[in-house]
Each structure stands twice: as C-alpha cells, then as structure tokens.
Symmetry: C2
Subunit: 103 residues, 2 copies
C-alpha cells in the first residue's frame, strides 16, 4: 500500500488550505475534527459512500489540513490544528466555528 504523503509544515500554503476547506463536505470534516480528537473516516461521514470521500480525504491531506494514519483496514484522521494555528493564527477559529450553510 502506498505511503500517505503529508506536506511538511513549511510547505503548507494558505491558498491551498482555503481551497481544501472551500467545499461543504471538506469543511464538515474539518469541523468534525476541530476538537483535536483522532477519528476514523467512517465515524465522520457515515452516510457517504467511501468511494466519494477518497478525493476529499486526499485534498485535505495534501493541502496540510489533516493527517491520515492507516491502522488495519481503517484510516484515522486528525486535524493539523497546532501547525495551522502557528502558520495562520486565528484562521481555524473563524472557519471551524462558522455553521455551514448559514454563514
């Protein structure tokens, strides 16, 4: 199985973080991880077929928003909150507390 690539903190760019968060499903995922607890994929979006989520996990991972870790057949996710807060202070506080679809 291919290793999961995660950008180093120095390679995380604001514009791609915005792009990753600029989709309803991905913003929902980031909000579900906002408390810093690691969760597995099926916990976060249980009603969405796995195949349609693969693209979103990758967009979040490759932009530096989340970390993914394989354990057995499950993929576990965490938000890279400390790193993102260090890079873009205040951004996640604004973005993750704003309810989706009602501003």
């Amino acid at each position: 199985m291919a290793a999961l690539h995660h950008p180093d903190i120095d390679d995380i760019e604001l514009v791609y973080v915005l792009a990753a968060l600029g989709h309803p499903a991905r913003l929902q995922i980031a909000r579900a991880l906002a408390d810093g607890v690691e969760r597995y994929c099926g916990e976060i979006m249980p009603d969405v077929p796995k195949s349609s989520m693969t693209h979103h996990w990758r967009a979040l991972r490759e932009s530096g928003v989340i970390r993914q870790r394989r354990a057995g057949r499950k993929l576990y996710l965490t938000l890279r909150r400390d790193e993102l807060d260090a890079l873009f202070p205040g951004l996640l506080d604004i973005v993750l507390t704003e309810p989706v679809g009602t501003r």
Copy 2:
C-alpha cells in the same frame, strides 16, 4: 448585456468564500483590492488574457467576495470588504495579508 448578479449579504456563505479565495489568481485579485479602492480588471492582472480571467471574476462575484460594475467597455471591481468583515470578522485580515506562495 446581462445584468451582473451579486448575492445579497444574507446569501453569502463562508464555504463559497473560501472556495473563491482558494485559487492563486483569485487570491491575488482579492489582495489587489484589499485597500478598498475600485479598480478595473485590466489594472489588476494586466498580463493575463481577458478570456482566462472571466471565470475568476465570476467565481469571486457569485460567492460575494467582489462587486463588478460595467462602465463603457470596462468592468470595475471592488472588494465587499465591509460586508465580509461583518459576516466573518477577522477572516480577510488573515487571508489578504498572507503572502501568496510563502504561506
């Protein structure tokens, strides 16, 4: 010529603002308008063919990030800064002061 549609402030959604800003060209446009001064399209991205920018103007306008106004053959742009600051306090301060490509 079709009227330019601009969403009302109550219809502006965070996720689509993030999506609009989550592209290098569009983030550059928003930053070029950050001072609140109205500019015409050709002033902001003079080296980019007009045809390739049309999509970006629309993405910024339809998400509520900018206003466009036709005057003769020119399209003038302003950032909807006051409205966005009221809806998402602090967001533009973070996003528009961060240099593109270097975090």
